[in-house]
């Protein structure tokens, strides 16, 4: 009868475990997270000899001591989920250290089969392993495999199937035996274990005894609640004391030593090394890549390439997505009559979904680049070379990548940047990186810089951008240092970083990993981002203007229109409101088709007017051709449209002021008075919470301008130059504030997803905004000291 088998893959990082997992499961796999944490959990199904096998790829770990999150997860999975068989993937080229995990798995009394992986690489390095002998010495089946070529998989699965039908290994046949004194104490503890804690039932008492002897925190806690645990814990204390006296060290270290002695003995008998000390290809590559001089140059180039690949490589796709959504938006606008519903669908939902999907190519490209760096082994070298600098600020060498992607080179994005911290294993350093990454100059802040630099520092554009890059780095590193001193104080995680041999990544590995991580983003962050973007849209649009005010605007518009129509000189072209609407439509169409006309609006006007003049019914009653110049009409028409535009701008500005966001901006004006931000700036900053580039368009609306394109905000720039109260000092204050203040909500959603806690989201919002306020105020203070005139 077919039976479902649960199989778990355990092994060291860099042992080729995931490549082997991909080779076994092919496309029938999916990735999720372990409950409550962001460590990835890959599962897959495979049919073998009529049996269904469920495979789980456990996180790569060096041991099962449960110091790190990954180690705890692996141990918990084995203890609680009880896989039928654990496949222990062992890197043949690095067998010594890989066997350490094996010794711990063997002690758990579970069915273990070893996948001796990458024997070809080992043989090239002169490491010959006698698999049969190794199997005999360890007391478990050993199957040579090659994950890259997919070799040995049938034997491995066959072995696992066979093993699953046997009894779990018995205590008497265990291969690892410690010194007599240790064994005696183990036995003494075992005899005191009357009842296993529920979670550990089915696991051998001996394993519990060893863990107790090692003073394992989890197990000790688990035992404490058990009946008659006092005598057991007393025995443990006594045993630990005796061993310490006997060996002069704590049992956990004695046992670690003993496991390595066991490994040494096994290696001696089953492994033959024919060459030694000959530099491998990998070591020769490393001589160049981490060279004292070339290393940093190559590193900077590599980081720059990752950056280019992520942002420019994905650009066509991002643009295509944006174009697609703006087309859908136009379509919806054409179908749905203007009003709140249209605005909700177009500006709320479609723009929101577009925002989520717009990030997707970016994230996919970034993960492809990062997976490539990880799989080749270069990622570890990045951490190795940069740790000296970043560690000085409480960060980790591996933080670099996240900071670069977030905008270390101006123009990144903190959303993928925060996801990039997934490559970090040190929890404290990872959290710190997540918290400071949003201070970098992401792409959305650049239009604001461009606007303000263009308006107030037109002579020093390049210098200003360079200064802003340096300032954002300085702020991020400073913030890291301060956070590390205060709320994240405590000792550094030990820096023990394996530098794996360089390898050529597999295409399948790259694609699967990139897809998995991108999909996770879409699934987990996408929905939240969509919801919040609709809420923010509502905040910036509601409540709409009170009806009487709306009526006033309509009345004013009517007055302007009737004044225009009553001008006898325009009557030849414009007789009624219908004529104006038709003319406007034709004008806009021609303008769109011709693009920006350097000679201004006049030629377009002439073309439209002539065309309409020819049309039947539009020409004057006597059928006379228009001979006189249209100059006068054009002049009047342009004066009219400018008036209408100004009125619309005013209406939008008043409307914005009336919304929740506008009211918030007004309320904030008091708070920001010391820096000199008025309600218009404040409401723009509120809008920037949705996405920083929105600051520009909201500022435009607040200043009663027609639609402001963030990429070409010339009109706004001119307006600000003329606006009283605006000066270089205020502009620079605003630049600093925008650089540092609360991350946009997409970034905050990522912070929640990656740290798992709202408290860090709140912290990130509060500390960045406080920092921004202080910096903006400092700019003003310095400006005053330098004698700038501030109104």
């Amino acid at each position: 009868m077919a039976k479902r088998l649960n199989i778990a893959l355990a092994g060291n990082p860099n042992s080729g475990k995931t490549t082997l997992f991909n080779a076994i499961t092919g496309a029938r796999q999916h990735t999720g997270n372990w409950p409550g944490v962001t460590v990835e959990k890959k599962e897959g199904v495979v049919q073998f000899n009529g049996h269904q096998m469920n495979l789980v790829d456990l996180p790569g770990t060096y041991s099962l001591t449960a110091y790190s999150l990954e180690e705890r997860l692996v141990r918990q999975f084995i203890v609680e989920d009880r896989p039928d068989v654990v496949v222990n993937v062992v890197d043949a080229a690095n067998i010594d250290r890989n066997l350490y995990l094996t010794t711990q798995l063997l002690e758990m009394g579970i069915r273990v089969i070893i996948a001796l992986n990458m024997t070809d690489v080992a043989e090239k390095q002169g490491v010959m392993i006698n698999a049969r002998k190794l199997s005999r010495l360890l007391g478990v089946p050993v199957m040579p495999t090659n994950g890259k070529k997919g070799a040995g998989i049938d034997d491995l699965l066959g072995g696992a199937l066979e093993l699953a039908q046997t009894d779990p290994p018995s205590d008497e046949n265990r291969p690892i035996r410690y010194a007599k004194d240790v064994e005696r104490e183990c036995a003494a503890i075992e005899s005191e274990i009357h009842l296993l804690p529920e979670a550990y039932q089915g696991l051998p008492k001996r394993w519990i005894a060893v863990k107790l002897l090692e003073n394992d925190e989890e197990i000790t806690k688990g035992v404490q609640g058990q009946p008659r645990s006092e005598s057991l814990l007393g025995q443990v204390r006594e045993s630990r004391h005796r061993l310490r006296d006997r060996f002069g060290d704590k049992p956990e270290f004695i046992l670690t030593n003993a496991r390595y002695s066991f490994i040494s003995k096994i290696i001696e008998q089953s492994v033959r090394r024919t060459m030694d000390d000959r530099a491998t290809v990998s070591e020769s590559i490393d001589k160049v890549l981490t060279h004292r001089l070339f290393g940093p140059v190559i590193l900077m180039t590599a980081l720059y390439l990752v950056y280019l690949f992520t942002f420019q490589g994905s650009e066509p796709l991002v643009n295509a997505v944006e174009r697609g959504f703006s087309r859908i938006g136009d379509l919806a606008a054409a179908v749905i009559p203007p009003g709140p519903l249209q605005s909700l669908v177009v500006s709320g939902v479609i723009d929101g979904v577009g925002g989520v999907l717009g990030f997707t190519p970016l994230i996919a490209f970034m993960f492809l680049a990062i997976t490539f760096l990880e799989d080749t082994g270069y990622m570890a070298r990045i951490a190795f070379m940069l740790d000296r600098i970043l560690h000085a600020f409480g960060l980790h060498g591996a933080s670099m990548l996240a900071l670069m992607v977030s905008g270390g080179i101006a123009g990144g994005c903190a959303v993928p940047g925060i996801m990039a911290t997934r490559t970090m294993r040190e929890p404290k350093e990872r959290l710190l990186t997540i918290l400071v990454a949003p201070l970098m100059n992401c792409g959305a802040k650049l239009p604001i810089y461009a606007l303000l630099i263009g308006a107030f520092f037109p002579g020093n554009k390049a210098l200003m951008m360079l200064a802003l890059t340096v300032i954002s780095w300085a702020m991020a590193l400073l913030a890291a240092k301060v956070i590390r001193w205060t709320i994240l104080s405590g000792p550094d995680a030990p820096f023990i970083l394996e530098l794996p041999p360089y390898r050529v990544p597999t295409v399948r590995g790259l694609i699967t990993n990139t897809w998995d991580r991108t999909w996770m983003y879409m699934k987990k962050a996408g929905t939240v981002i969509l919801t919040i973007s609709i809420i923010l849209w509502a905040m910036m649009n509601f409540p709409s203007l009170p009806e009487d005010e709306e009526r006033q605007f309509v009345a004013r518009e009517d007055r302007i229109t009737s004044a225009f129509l009553s001008d006898p000189s325009v009557a030849r072209v414009f007789k009624s409101q219908g004529d104006i609407i038709r003319f406007n439509a034709a004008f806009r169409q021609l303008e769109d088709a011709n693009g920006q006309n350097p000679e201004g609006r006049k030629p377009i006007f002439d073309a439209v007017a002539t065309a309409i003049d020819d049309a039947p019914g539009m020409a004057d009653g006597e059928g006379n051709r228009v001979e006189a110049s249209l100059d006068k009409v054009a002049e009047a028409y342009f004066a009219y449209t400018d008036q209408i535009m100004a009125l619309n701008g005013e209406r939008r500005s008043v409307q914005l002021k009336n919304t929740v966001g506008g009211q918030l901006g007004l309320a904030l004006e008091t708070v920001f008075r010391p820096i000199g931000f008025d309600w218009k700036t404040c409401v723009a900053l509120v809008g920037g919470f949705a996405a920083k580039e929105v600051v520009v368009s909201t500022l435009g609306t607040a200043y009663s301008l027609a639609d402001v394109d963030p990429e070409a905000a010339d009109s706004l720039s001119e307006r600000l130059q003329k606006e009283p109260g605006w000066n270089p000092v205020l502009a620079f204050s605003l630049i600093m504030f925008v650089m540092l203040y609360s991350p946009c909500f997409c970034t905050l959603v990522m912070i929640k997803k990656e740290t798992g806690r709202w408290q860090w989201v709140v912290f990130a919002m509060v500390y960045t905004t406080a920092l921004a306020y202080a910096a903006a105020l400092a700019v003003r203070g310095i400006g005053v000291l330098l004698g700038a005139e501030i109104s």
Binding site: Y62, S63, T65, Y67, A93, N94, I95, D96, R97, Y100, V127, G248, D249, K250, E252, F253, T256, N257, Y260, S264, E283, D286, T290, H291, R292, L293, G295, P296, A380, F384, M385, D387, R388, I389, H391, D492, P494, F495, I496, L497, E498, L499, P500, P501
Partner: protein, 108 residues
Amino acid sequence: MKRIPNEEDCDFCPAFPAKECLSDNVVPLSQFKPGEKGVVFQACGDSELRLRLMEMGFVRGSEVKVVKHAPLKDPLEFVIRGYHVSLRKEEAAHILMEKPHGRFDEVT
């Protein structure tokens, strides 16, 4: 010569209750230069660091070779038990090596 980066560490270090680590027979790995080899005598320091180092193969009798510094002198790269690993000087100072004969005398 002070062998341990921070003597306070020793108070919590279970490796040498009698502080024999301060004797002249051991040299911390952090004082090794690129290209030099040695044999581990004992990893010391607080329990977590010590256990992690030992689990990565820094147990008594393991041979360690210093490969190189990072471009900014820290961290260091080592080969131990057939693989490459990087430690900061801080951590390497917690690995006490058997004193090779005839070397380090000028340092002492």
